[in-house]
């Protein structure tokens, strides 16, 4: 049984931290996306400099049964380069906005990475043998004088040091006028969608010279623009269903079978506004920054500035659960608007799916019952849907000892600050955790601070 003795309560321990130690953060090193592959063996990060770094989990060491394999660098490559749009006189950032892995079909691994304008399909393959014994070439590649060849031999493969190569297999370009914020691979594993601020396109993984536009919310007059698309995702099981969220806090579920252009949603999820909390910032904080389906596809989770909401796909008028991430910021919205923090786009993720088979899941047989999301001061939060308990943890080099359980943190909203609590005014708003990922099968999580990647795992007995 995974986890500590008491039911579903996980005790998180520091495992590893990747990245530079010094406080002076190079802009290019800022982590912009984190994603485990389908087996969890590989963990990919993208950064503002357009690089992708893939870590691979070591095979479990039999002698060290109390910890899982460590993640070490497996491959690093430059995915995107900065470009210049001469027509608009604009630079196109090389920052990797999203990485999505394809399920593994053969020995090689495939992932999609995207910047603001271009999506690329990368093949990551291993090479651990090379042919030796050519007849016409020397080992160093120089050609032999054919007249010196007196015997013939068949070249054979000999082992070599492992080399991991990344090569771009497809480049999906020129389909987005606005900035791409999401990519999502369909459950058919043949198509995927890409969403920018105003449009969503459907691609076939094999075809790069055309895509289908399936959502277009660009108004005829740009002056009427009041809402943009913020995230989109395919349903995990139904290959014709996808959702997209907006800056006004709505989620639209669309069925591609209904029409070619899914401008009319099948369902519209929106929670009525709470009049007692109304302010000039209400719309901004309702803007959804991330949307994720649960493993079964029955629920979906959305992240807005202050909360995480769980929606039942069968109920459109309100979420079934709402979790407050940092409600103490509600009284600081003006300051956060001033320093632009109110526009930070936090992501959210579900726990891995397989582990729940072993434990009682009171909420649902959905197997998705813990949600994780980031906050400021390098804090991140987890909410357990079953126990209704939540925890705040910190990604910091101070908790550097492996197998030491992380201490829960607490923010003091007002009044007397207890010992070990941190007051709202002391929070460092430059230290934000926007990207987190949960291993698909085990209790291992990857948490990205500005330029460091932390890996935590549960305490194994």
């Amino acid at each position: 049984f995974l986890g500590a003795g008491g039911g579903n309560d996980i005790q998180w321990c520091f495992s590893q931290v990747k990245g530079a130690v010094d406080d002076d953060v190079a802009e290019a090193d800022i982590i912009s996306t984190v994603e485990f592959n389908h087996s969890g063996e590989l963990l990919a990060t993208g950064d503002k400099g357009g690089r992708v770094v893939i870590f691979q989990q070591e095979q479990e060491n039999k002698t060290q049964s109390h910890s899982r394999g460590e993640y070490n660098v497996y491959s690093t490559f430059q995915s995107h380069e900065p470009e210049f749009d001469y027509l608009k006189s604009l630079e196109i950032e090389e920052k990797i906005n999203k990485i999505r892995w394809l399920p593994q079909k053969n020995a090689a691994q495939f992932l999609l990475s995207t910047n603001d304008k271009t999506i690329k399909l990368w093949k990551i393959s291993e090479r651990d043998k090379r042919p030796e014994g050519y007849n016409l070439k020397e080992e160093d590649g120089r050609y032999r004088d054919p007249t010196t060849v007196t015997t013939l031999r068949v070249p054979v493969f000999r082992p070599m040091d492992l080399m991991v190569e990344a090569s771009p297999r497809r480049i999906f370009a020129n389909a987005h006028t606005y900035h791409i914020n999401s990519i999502s691979i369909n459950s058919d594993y043949e198509t995927y969608l890409s969403a920018d601020d105003l449009r969503i396109n459907l691609w076939h993984l094999e075809i790069t010279d055309r895509s289908f536009n399936i959502v277009d919310i660009k108004p005829a007059n740009m002056e009427e623009l009041t809402e943009v698309i913020t995230a989109a995702e395919f349903h995990p099981n139904s290959c014709s269903t996808f959702v997209y969220s907006s800056s006004k806090g709505t989620i639209r579920l669309c069925d591609m079978r209904a029409s070619a252009l899914c401008d009319r949603h099948s369902k519209l999820f929106e929670e009525p506004e709470d009049p007692s909390n109304r302010s000039f910032f209400s719309e901004i904080i309702s803007s959804i920054s991330d949307v994720k389906f649960s493993h079964s596809g029955r629920y979906m989770m959305t992240r807005d500035y202050l909360s995480v909401k769980i929606w039942d796909l069968n109920m459109e008028n309100r979420p079934v659960e709402t979790y407050q991430v940092h409600e103490y910021l509600r009284s600081k919205l003006c300051s956060l608007y001033e320093n632009d923090c109110i526009f930070d786009k936090f992501e959210c993720c579900w726990n891995g799916s397989d582990r729940q088979v072993e434990s009682l899941s009171l909420c649902t047989s959905d197997l998705s019952n813990i949600v994780m999301t980031g906050s400021y001061n390098n804090f991140f939060r987890m909410f357990d849907r079953n126990t209704k308990r939540d925890i705040t943890l910190e990604a910091s080099r101070e908790n550097n000892k492996p197998r030491t359980v992380l201490k829960p943190r607490k923010v003091c909203a007002s009044g007397k600050r207890k010992k070990d609590e941190i007051s709202v005014d002391s929070l460092d708003f430059n230290k934000k955790i926007l990207h987190t990922a949960w291993h698909p099968k085990e209790n291992i999580i990857a948490v990205a601070t500005t330029n460091n990647l932390y890996i935590f795992q549960d305490k194994m007995n």
């Binding site: 027509l87 608009k88 006189s89 604009l90 630079e91 196109i92 950032e93 603001d116 606005y178 900035h179 601020d197 105003l198 007059n221 740009m222 002056e223 623009l225 009041t226 809402e227 943009v228 913020t230 800056s247 909390n277 109304r278 302010s279 000039f280 910032f281 209400s282 719309e283 901004i284 803007s287 509600r330 009284s331 600081k332 919205l333 003006c334 300051s335 608007y337 001033e338 320093n339 632009d340 526009f343 005014d425």
Partner: protein
């Protein structure tokens, strides 16, 4: 109070205010806070134009906030020009909205003048005569206020104020491509962090500290007078600089 969005209290003062200082002080700080939010939002939208690749979502959200404030101020009747000469404040120490944004055609025809706290520059009156110009004044430590042209906010017909307001916002989106290549990101980052310093004043207001609302906003708007607001002053100098660049481009 601001964040809670309680009902506007300013309505009470509207009838008896004739532009006296006492009258101005009687206006509740909700108006002041709302005005400062409007100014802040306009600066943000302006700064958007200077970024190499502005974030459309952010721009839309800020523009929606501006619209929201404008709608509320229009309902209030505070969406007006005022004559600051009567208050003796020749210099503007805060960012002001353009003439287009600050008038509704209805109020123009009625000729109402509802004073609001130090919002508008007297030069707007002269600018009004110029059909083809829009101005964006910026606060400055220099006594004489500066009026600067910004071609993005270009006004074509002063009568179609609301339409032009929309058009201005429209131009924000449509002219995102037409950016000057001046790199002002450094300036922007400077302004950004200094904004964060101003925060203490606003958070002071928000949490209802001992500082009176009006007092705090007054210190905010008079950087030359207050020693403790040196941050304010440098911000405004930075804003000057930014607007200068805008003009030159």
């Amino acid at each position: 109070m601001f964040v809670r969005g309680l009902k506007r209290k300013c309505f009470d003062g509207e009838e008896d205010i004739e532009g006296t200082l006492a009258g101005i002080k009687a206006i509740p700080s909700y108006n002041l806070q709302r005005q400062s939010l409007l100014d802040m939002s306009l600066v943000k939208l302006q700064l958007c134009h200077m970024l190499v690749e502005p974030n459309l979502c952010r721009s839309v959200l800020i523009a929606n906030t501006v619209r929201q404030i404008q709608e509320e101020m229009t309902q209030d009747g505070t969406w007006q020009m005022i004559n600051t000469q009567s208050t003796g404040q020749a210099s503007l120490d805060r960012l002001v909205s353009t003439d287009i944004l600050c008038r509704s055609s209805r109020d123009q025809t009625e000729g109402k003048h509802v004073p609001a706290y130090g919002t508008f520059n007297k030069d707007f009156e002269s600018d009004q005569a110029q059909d083809s110009s829009e101005t964006m004044s910026t606060a400055s430590s220099v006594q004489a206020p500066r009026n600067l042209q910004n071609n993005v906010w270009e006004m074509e017909n002063p009568q179609e104020n609301k339409g032009n307001f929309q058009k201005s916002l429209d131009q924000i989106f449509e002219t995102l491509e037409n950016k000057s290549s001046n790199s002002v990101e450094d300036l922007f980052s400077e302004v950004d962090s200094s904004y964060y310093d101003l925060d203490t004043m606003l958070t002071g207001m928000m949490s209802n500290t001992k500082m009176g609302h009006c007092d705090s906003l007054e210190t905010f708007s008079s950087p030359t007078n207050t020693a403790s607001n040196s941050n304010c002053k440098s911000d405004l100098n930075d804003l000057d600089h930014i607007v200068e660049i805008l003009v030159e481009s």
